[in-house]
Every structure is written in C-alpha cells, then in structure tokens.
Subunit: 461 residues, 2 copies
C-alpha cells in the first residue's frame, strides 16, 4: 500500500492491502451498516467488534427536571450482556465460554465496542451472538436493577484506585467543561438515578443500522462475513435493503477549552501520591500526530525515555513514570504521570515540567529521533501480530479518522518528522495552560510551592 | 506428539513437536546451561527468557545478628538492569527501546525470569544483552541506593492497591509460616536494611551456569540460538566446557502447612471490601491438576461460571468475582475473590462458601464438564498464538514440572476428567481449613458473624 486510504461514507465497496499482506475489504450496506475486514495470512484466530460512535461525551446534561444521563452509555453496554428475546444472560456467557473465547465490551469517551476473540471456526457463532445482543437486547427491569448494583461496585473499585482517580480528575482539569472531561462511567448519583426508560431511549436512538460498524481481523473471509452478518441482522428484524443516509463523522475542529483549576489536590491516606501534570494536546486528526508520537516516545515512553531516566533511573523517585497523549476528535491531552512519596511530590512535578521545558528550549537529538522511529516501528510490528490490535485499528480508522493508514504509511509519516518539528511541538505544549493533579497524603500548598504553574516558561528551565 | 515428554536433567539433546507443528529442541550444555527453543511456523516475532529457579521462597530468615534477606531476589532482579562492565543502564534500555521490543523481568515465589519480545531479526541483540545482564552485572553501590528508592515506591504502590494487599495477606493466612506465604518483594524494613554485600552474595550463589535456563519461542533456529548464546556467555568469561553437575529440581513432596488466622481483617477507608476466601490447594505436579482446572473453570472462571452467576448476575453484589488456583512445587492455594460493598461482605463470603459446598455435595453437571473442556481448549489455543505464552510454558516445564505437555496432551488429560473427579476434589477442598481475608472498611465481628469458618461443612450448604 502507498499512502493512506480514504474511507468515504458513500462508497459501497473498497479493497486494499495492509501490513503483512493482509487484505482489507470494506462494504457499506444500503442500510448504512459498515463492515470492514482484514484477512491476515496464516492467522488461526479472529477478533470481531461491533461499534457505535457514541460514548460518554454524548450524554446529556441535566435540563431542568430531567436529570443528567451521565453513565448511561456504559450502563447500556452492561445491559447488552443481560439477555435478548432469544438468549438469557447465561446463554450469552455460555456461548463464548464454551469455546474459550474472549468476550467483552468497552465504553470509551467517543465510542462503544462489543468484541470477541475466538478460533476461526467459531466466527459464525460470534457474529450471531453479538448481532443478537446489539439489535435485540430486552433491558429487562429486574436485570436493570441488578446491573445497577454491579456498576456501582465497578465505580467503587475505580474510586479505590488512586491512579484511576488521578486520571479522571486530570481530564476534567485539562478539558474543563468540555464533555470529554467527564468520567466515562458517570458517578454514583447519576447511576442511582438512571431509569430504564432513559437507557432504553438511548439504545433506540443510537443503535440503528446506519450507526453500526463491524470490524473483523484475522482468519476471516469478507464475503462469508457479510453473508453471516446480513442473515443475523435480518433475523433480528432489521431491514437491510432500506436505504439510510450515512451518519456523518464527528467534527474534527479543535474545540476551545476553558481549563479547570491549575492545581487539584484529592486528599487520600495512601502511601504514594499519584501525580499528573500536563496540558491540552492534539486532536486525533492533527497533522502533527506523528510529531506527537515521536515526542511522547522520546519524552516518556520506555526505559530509555527522558522522564524514566530523570525521575527513576537517576534519582530513584518513582517506580512508575511515563507520559501519554490520548487524542479525540476535537480535543486531546498531553500528560506526565508518576507515583511517588508525598515528600517528593513537589520535586517530581518540578522535574517533569523542567524536562518538558528542556525539550522546548533545546530540542531532541538526532539519535533520539532515530531511536524513536525504531521504537514506534518495532512496537507496531509486534502489536500487529494480534488480531485484536488490527480489529481495533480498523474500528478507529472508520469511526474517527475516516482514513486507514497501514504500518508502512505510519512509518513513512514518522520518518518525515524532524528534530525541529518535535521542538516546535514542545514549545507549543509548554505555552498551554498546565494542570496538576495530586491524589494522596499531601496538601495543596506543598505542591503549589514546588511548581508555580503561572510562571512564564522561560523562568523554569 | 503423544503423551508428555520428560525433560531429564542428564540428557544432552532432545527434539519433539508441539501444538501448531512447532519444533521443540532442548540442549543441555556441558556446563549445565539448559537451552530450550520452540520454533513456531509463520511466526515473525520471538520471545526469549533467561530463568533461574530462585524466588522469594528461597530467601533467608533473620538469624541472630544477620537480618532476613526478604526481597533480595526482587532487588537483584532490578539491579540486573542497572549496568554491566560493558553497558550502562541507559545502554541496556536503549538496546530494546530502539527496536520497539518489550523487555522486562519477573520475580516470582519460585523463579526469576528476564525476558524480551522482539522481531526475529533482533534476537541476536536480545540474547547478547540479556546474557551480559545475567552474567556481568556490577551492582554499582550508587545505583544500588537509587534502586532501593524505586523498590520502596513499588512496594508503596502495591500497598495502595487493596486487591494486592488482600492477595498477600491471603497467601500468608493459607500457607502460614511456609516460605511460599511471604510477599515476593519483601517489606519496607527489609528493603531499607538490604546491603549490597548480601545481594551480591545472592547473585554469585544463584546465577551460575548450571542455574541458567534459556527458553525461546517463535521465529527461532535452535542451532543459531545455541551458537549466539555460547558466544555471549563465553565473552562474559563463563567456562562452558567445564562440566557441572545438574542442579536438582525442587522437591515436590506436599508440605505440611500450619495455616495462619482463620479471619484476617485489614482496616482501610476504601469504598469496597476486597474479600478472599479459600483453602490450601494442590501442588504443581499433583495428578489432579487437570481436575482442578476443570473445577476452577466451572466454579469461578468466566461469565458463565457459578461464582459469576451467583454473586454478580443474580444478585449484583460485585463487579469483579472469580476463583483461582495457583500451584507451586510443594504447596498451592485455592481462592475465591470478590470486591463488594462493606455491608454485603458477609453475604458474599457466605455465598462463596455455600457454592463450593454445593459442588462438594452435588457435583457439577455433564454439561458443565463438557463446556469446561471446550473453554480450556479454546483459551489455550488462543494463548499459544503468542510467543510469550510459549516461552513461559517452556520455562515452567523445565524448571518446575520436569516434563513438557503440549496442548493435545493437556486436552487429553482434561478429557479424562469425570464429574466424580471434580466432586471428589471439591469434597477434599471443603474439608481443608478455610482462611478469610477482608481489606476494607469493615470490622472482624461483621465478617465472622456471617461465615463461621469453624462450622463442620455439612451445616453450611
């Protein structure tokens, strides 16, 4: 393959090749259902995902008497496992367990995905069960209340994980009131208040033929796949021959953000402080995404990265330390994480910021650039051995990006990145408003004294 | 392959096949170094591990003035990344990062393993760096003190994870004073007291040619591998032509246990209580290991399992609930885990025990038995797609079991399991002393009232 392949919503059929001689095919059915497959030579397993482009960011604020629907996307995801007209929850569980398949779902900020990984012979079963769950969930009221309890426990588990708490608070600090800043699962109050009617309405609005994207990677034949899927969806009562207009992808115009507080301290009687320091990042379609990949790799990914060397190797201040750069359609985040002793939190936060300033002032070396390209290429090649990785890359390409860039194309883009590009991006990042979140046994003054987030950047390095 | 292949310590060369037409070869060099490879057709990646059969259980108690060496195995594992005569810590990190490899180490209760997953072309590099780390670490005193800080942070991180705390306490409750009952990483006091001299002695005693087992799976040629390894080890000054007697494997006689307290409550101001209830299990070589696999699958593995159905699906009492059955050379554990609301902890613990009693009284159904076989077979087939899984199975076969059973053989053993075998094992388990651990905002009386661990089993179901 040369270059990226566009995925126009209106085009019925597309065929191209991807890394490792994989054959990618895409069919858009008249009803708007999109089916993408990546047939990987030699693969014996297959991963299938049923996607919709609806996530926590799409949930409604409270409006007068009508309560917020925060968490309803994730609630619905749980309920799809709880039974259809044809299958009980136990039937669904047995279908996948009996063949040793992996079977789960993921609610994210911008999409929801139901997936299964099975041996090739079990693909028709997986398609049948996932299609039934997707189209014909009954949302039984008794199951609804049981599942409310399960979700409250899931939120409690996350609430007991200080790194998870820090991450949620960090998103809300960096993104402010933007819907991407909210936690995916809602909160205990919105889950306690959730009604079956609201979740049912959400289901009917967002799980239509034109919303469904099915991606499959591994040992798959596209024509057989489309046939199986059509049979399963028709059986559920879907009219696949009725034309529906394509659902537009989300806007990728960068949102204007009003960041939250510069410093957030969540007191916890834990041994470590979980620290996150960062700024708004890039959107998923930003042309500098490859530059961000290089910067994030050199700066905070792997044992040879600057953060790891400065914070852990040279000073022994943390066990876990890294940076990350999640990107969404109209906003993104660049964050630096460390778990450290409360007495060292100020030092660690200052080190993180200083190191980022150093890249902004002095750039990275040609050697670091070369290594980052090798690291990104090698890691991608290893990841593509798993059909899960390919299935999910197909989904994100279709839902968010509107283009498919295979490994060669991704590496070509990385190879074009220069040390100047990386320095320019770091300069851009350090000019953005910083947010700091600390979860642990620490008070606000201690953190603020160490890192003056209002100081002009030139004073820091 | 038919049946299991014995791995006699004295036999220099062995060749056989494994699942997916993989070719397994084993060479025992005159010096006692053991090399096992599994060449998987079509694989482009390769995972390599350097193993020694020394883990936390082998550490020394305090003896008079000499402090305990708890945590020194894990400390040494960290230090092997910190530099040799030829390579700094940064050099080691760069070697793997520059090719996008995964690269880490694992200290367990009975072994330590240093491993890397890379693309096929990078195997010689991986062998060279791992061999240098294994043979020629300098344990620099400055690095030693820096790393002490890193390990203290790692222990703090684990201490902040209530599920981790519950697991550590559970092992010590079930196994009592047995060395397998101790935490792998030591504790802050033993880490603060650790001296370079003690760790150096540990290194010299346990990392000799006759201790080293190298296992490699994926895109590997055995003869080239042995050649690379011999060159790397010779370069480090090892005499590979000097014969050393084979190191005997650990005794697999089941140890006599003196379990700790029946109920352990660790108060924590967390939202959930992390509960573990269980009994001593089977040793790794027990002939009923396949029966245990079936029991654990039916009882607590997957969404269709009894625990998941009873605790989560029907009652919504937990998000995470499962059973597990880790096995070691002379002891094992069978445990049931759930995270739940403090007010429900008694109910959940009682449910767990009642469900296990129910299997002991009434057995499992033929349908459950059949599904468990499918689940174990399918899950193993999917797992064997990863060279990591194969590499680590080779290591455990060589170090602990002394035999290699491939997928077909494992499935043949599972197919021989009967419903009576499973019921008999459950009866055996419920006759053993139960231990309950609860980490969370709960008091001992509340738990003890709900589950009388001293009651005879027949009163409970």
């Amino acid at each position: 393959m040369n270059g990226a392949v566009d995925l126009p919503l209106g085009q019925a059929e597309l065929t191209f090749t991807a890394a490792g001689d994989a054959l990618v095919r895409r069919s858009v059915l008249p009803s708007g259902v999109r089916v993408l497959s990546e047939q990987v030579p030699g693969s014996r397993s297959v991963t299938v995902g049923f996607w919709v482009a609806v996530g926590s960011r799409d949930e409604r604020h409270a409006q007068g008497e009508i309560p917020a629907t925060y968490g309803s996307t994730h609630f619905l995801e749980h309920l799809l496992f709880k039974g259809t007209a044809e299958r009980t929850a136990l039937d669904i569980a047995i279908s996948f367990d009996a063949v040793g398949g992996e079977h789960n779902a993921l609610t994210a900020k911008e999409y929801t995905c139901y997936y299964a990984k099975v041996q090739d012979r079990d693909l028709p079963m997986a398609i049948g069960v996932l299609a039934d769950m997707f189209t014909s969930s009954v949302l039984d009221p008794v199951e609804f209340d049981n599942e409310r309890g399960v979700i409250l426990e899931e939120l409690s588990m996350a609430g007991d994980d200080p790194a998870d708490v820090a991450n949620e608070r960090f998103f809300s600090a960096v993104l402010g009131e933007h819907p991407l800043g909210r936690p995916i699962g809602g909160d205990p109050d919105t889950i306690r208040a959730a009604t079956r009617e609201a979740v049912w309405a959400h289901y009917r609005e967002n799980y239509r033929p034109q919303d469904l994207v099915v991606t499959v990677a591994g040992a798959v034949d596209h024509d057989l796949l489309v046939g199986e899927l059509e049979r399963a969806l028709t059986r559920a009562g879907w009219r696949l021959d009725v034309a529906a207009p394509p659902v537009e992808r989300r806007s990728t115009d960068t949102a204007t953000l009003e960041p939250g507080p510069a410093v957030t301290v969540v007191p916890r009687p834990t041994e470590q402080v979980n620290l996150l320091l960062g700024v708004p990042g890039l959107v998923a379609t930003d042309e500098r995404r490859s530059v961000m990949s290089v910067l994030n790799t050199v700066f905070g990914s792997g044992m040879s990265s600057r953060l790891f060397q400065q914070v852990r190797e040279r000073r022994g201040l943390a066990y876990s330390v890294y940076s990350y750069a999640p990107a969404y359609s109209d906003a993104g985040v660049f964050g630096m994480y460390a778990g450290c002793a409360p007495a060292k939190a100020g030092t660690v936060a200052a080190l993180m910021r200083t190191e980022l300033e150093r890249v902004a002032e002095h750039g990275i070396t040609p050697d670091e650039l070369r290594r980052a390209a090798g690291q990104l290429g090698g890691a991608s090649a290893l990841a593509l051995e798993d059909s899960d990785t390919r299935m999910s890359r197909l989904g994100r390409s279709e839902l968010t990006l509107g283009e498919f860039a295979d490994l060669d194309e991704a590496l070509r883009r990385i190879a074009l990145v220069t040390v100047d590009d990386v320095q320019a991006l770091a300069q851009d990042l350090v000019s953005r408003p910083f947010s700091l979140v600390a979860v642990g046994a620490i008070d606000e003054a201690a953190v603020q004294g160490a890192v003056d987030l209002t100081a002009p950047t030139s004073d820091v390095a």
